[in-house]
């Protein structure tokens, strides 16, 4: 695990113009290979925080630095996003949805003529196999279950191989067994590719079981989730990793 933070947020104010900010004084650092969980009640600003880090929303104040610099074209392909509803291209195959993770590495000729390199195709094949969907490569993503669709989104991130992966509630509404599989895949991405992962989860107990750190959004700021609060939160639906 590198000591240099991949992501640094300094004194940021997060929200939308002409509306009171959702989060104030946000300070956050994430290092390579680290999995950081974010919890908080609905509507508090978890998704807006993720979208701000992804460069889709500008912070109202403060800085969001990626590898010490601003998010720009030079960070192309370094940030991966798995939104709440996964962001898969509908009516396209599993293979297509995973292969587009390799687009940041493609040159203009490969992109214009849709001619992925041998390496891109091989990476796609490996990622699809790693998530256990090898027999579904040519199946439309619309025909997959929710858990399988999440695996497609994770395979897309594996092919992209970003330095920072932002996952917005990608464990939501999953049964325990499927959630365990997805967690295993995320852990593998962090450990094997050294990817830093920031994951939003609504279940603090579950987040504790697989995240290196868990932070919570409370009031308008972001604070660490301590042990006492975890026990307090255990009244929420339980997740037992050993089941």
């Amino acid at each position: 695990m590198s000591l240099e933070p991949i992501l640094s947020i300094r004194s940021a104010e997060i929200g939308f113009k002409d509306v009171s900010p959702l989060l104030e004084g946000v300070n956050l650092e994430i290092k390579s290979g680290e999995i950081v969980g974010i919890i908080g009640r609905s509507g508090i600003g978890k998704t807006t925080l993720i979208r701000t880090i992804a460069g889709l929303v500008r912070p109202l104040l403060g800085e969001v630095l990626f590898s010490g610099g601003n998010i720009s074209h030079s960070t192309r392909g370094s940030i991966g996003l798995i939104p709440q509803r996964l962001g898969l291209v509908q009516h396209q195959t599993v293979g297509y949805n995973v292969l587009i993770g390799a687009l940041p590495k493609s040159n203009w000729f490969q992109s214009i003529f849709s001619l992925p390199s041998v390496e891109m195709r091989e990476a796609t094949r490996k990622a699809i196999s790693a998530v256990g969907l090898a027999d579904k490569t040519l199946v439309s993503v619309n025909l997959l279950s929710g858990g399988q669709q999440r695996r497609v989104a994770i395979a897309r991130a594996m092919v992209q191989n970003p330095q920072l992966l932002l996952a917005d509630e990608c464990l939501g509404e999953l049964d325990t067994e499927t959630a365990l599989e997805i967690i295993g895949l995320l852990r593998a991405i962090a450990d094997e590719q050294g990817t830093a992962i920031l994951i939003v989860d609504h279940n603090p107990v579950r987040a504790r079981t697989f995240c290196d750190r868990v932070l919570q959004l409370r009031g308008r700021t972001i604070i660490p989730l301590n042990e006492g609060e975890q026990e307090e939160a255990s009244s929420l639906p339980q997740y037992r990793g050993d089941e």
Binding site: G77, I79, P83, G87, Q90, H91, L103, S111, L143, R156
Partner: protein, 304 residues
């Protein structure tokens, strides 16, 4: 309100009646302003009887006799293949096909530029105005313009229908592209992809069902309107109708051409409707769009 006459109260309280009265007043004003002479309807009825008498029975020799005056000239040896009906309908279908293909090739990049979720707002507004300007003129006026510019013949028809297709299809396409889900586009933007890759690999595939369906609809539309542009010399079956109407007034042959055109248009509508139904989102297990399936439906069905 108590001082208001009861009749006025009765009307004011009934929105449908109120609206009907207002529309009727405007209709009467328009009739007076246009100096519409309703007595002419009586003349029209007697003219209709004369024309119907001359048109019936339809003369289907237009399907068998060679049109030696055809433009461009027909070189084939078989007479029926060079008949006005076959030549006219073939030209109309070819004009519609080429206009749809060329129109699609031009309108899709313009639609991407006009979609506010894919392009900068200023560029989107400018391209929208261009597309709106193309739609201002109906295909018949475009045909007149191109007949003047490039002369009588199918080329004018293809150019006229292409211009109209770009304006009309472009609008349908940018609305379809703006309707795609926000999340795949955000995934692409988080990856740092340029705008054209976001459109090429995320927005267009996501909207593919609508785009294919719209293209087929436009082909149907172009077949119907391709018949009309011939009336001003832009090729197609309309040109052959015009030949029989002026100066010969051979209404029996015109009626036969109209019947042939009607049957072909009905057949194309049915085929297009069947193919388009495969791409219209009615249930979750919708077929994955394949362009070849748009033209060869049995390939599409055998794949799945």
């Amino acid at each position: 309100m108590s001082d208001t006459p009861r009749l006025v109260q009765f009307v004011v309280r009934r929105p449908i009646l109120r609206t009907s009265i207002i529309l009727a007043i405007f209709a009467v004003l328009a009739i007076f302003h246009l100096e519409v002479n309703l007595s002419r309807l009586g003349d029209a009825a007697s003219n209709l009887v004369v024309i119907a008498g001359e048109a019936w029975p339809p003369d289907f020799s237009i399907l068998t006799k060679r049109a030696s005056w055809a433009y461009p000239p027909c070189e084939l040896q078989t007479d029926w293949m060079c008949s006005p009906a076959v030549l006219g309908m073939t030209q109309t279908l070819e004009i519609a096909f080429l206009a749809t293909i060329f129109g699609m090739a031009i309108s899709l990049p313009l639609a991407v530029a006009a979609a506010t979720n894919l392009s900068p707002p200023l560029l989107a507004q400018v391209v929208r105005q261009v597309l709106a300007a193309l739609r201002v003129l109906p295909s018949l006026i475009w045909a007149l313009i191109f007949v003047i510019l490039v002369g009588i013949g199918p080329l004018a028809g293809v150019l006229a229908m292409t211009m109209y297709t770009v304006g009309y299809l472009g609008k349908l396409q940018y609305e379809a592209l703006e309707g795609v889900s926000r999340e795949p586009l955000e995934v692409a933007r988080a990856m740092g992809l340029p705008r054209w890759q976001v459109a090429r690999f995320f927005a267009i595939p996501e909207a593919a069902n609508s785009l294919i369906s719209q293209m087929l609809f436009m082909f149907e539309y172009n077949v119907r309107h391709g018949s009309v542009v011939g009336l001003v010399g832009a090729g197609g079956i309309g040109w052959y109708m015009q030949y029989y109407l002026e100066p010969f007034k051979l209404y029996d042959r015109v009626l036969a051409l109209i019947i042939v055109m009607y049957l072909v248009v009905i057949a194309i509508d049915q085929i297009s409707l069947r193919v388009r139904s495969q791409f219209i989102e009615e249930h979750e297990q919708i077929r994955r769009p394949k362009w070849r399936g748009a033209f060869v439906p049995w390939v599409e069905s055998s794949d799945d």
